[in-house]
Symmetry: C2
Amino acid sequence: MVPKQALDLDQIRQAMASTNDLFNKEVFEKRNFAAFDNIYTSDARILPPGVPMISGREAIRNFWSDLITSSDATSAALESVEVTQAGDGVVEIGNATIDFKAAPTLDCKYVVYWREENGRWKWHVDIWNRNS
Amino acid sequence: MVPKQALDLDQIRQAMASTNDLFNKEVFEKRNFAAFDNIYTSDARILPPGVPMISGREAIRNFWSDLITSSDATSAALESVEVTQAGDGVVEIGNATIDFKAAPTLDCKYVVYWREENGRWKWHVDIWNRNS
């Protein structure tokens, strides 16, 4: 039996960057909400400010599509600050800058617990808040 | 060489409950801010709503002691909602109920990434926000 190969953090970082890119380019810029299938695990949970926890990708997709549409958000730039391997997953601390068509930029920070699902690295637990 | 024993999640849960208890009984009820040595890892990070990320136990202790004193907070009841082993650490989702001497109760949710430090389970990354 071949031992399971150790996770290569550089490869994971690249996979993470590609997922984070989907959030900005597909979801925010193109409003392609089907892209959430490649961003969140099917049983992911998000903990947004101001509302209770939301469980499951379908409910998460509804949350984001409502929020992005109603707020007229135009981009969400994510920047990893710290990436820590945690068993089969990764704990990421990051900064997010959200732009809107007609409102000031929002500076947020977040923690995401990443898991691999069907060969893609996805957000399994996602919580954020504002910097000011 | 004896192989490292697998982490026993029940034992970890007990250790976590004892750390969470310190936060309520020592920090909030007794204002014993030295207890933070047994709550946060020395290089922990917290991501509180409304301010940028804070790094290191000393800065974290200052943040909490200022906040608890100035807001006259009297208790912080923490309840684990989901506990997931993640390598040498644990990812916890939870609810927090904060009471004050002269202000309405605050309902929050949080994610903590736990690590073991000097034989104690402690908060290594801690982020939260309000439910409403």
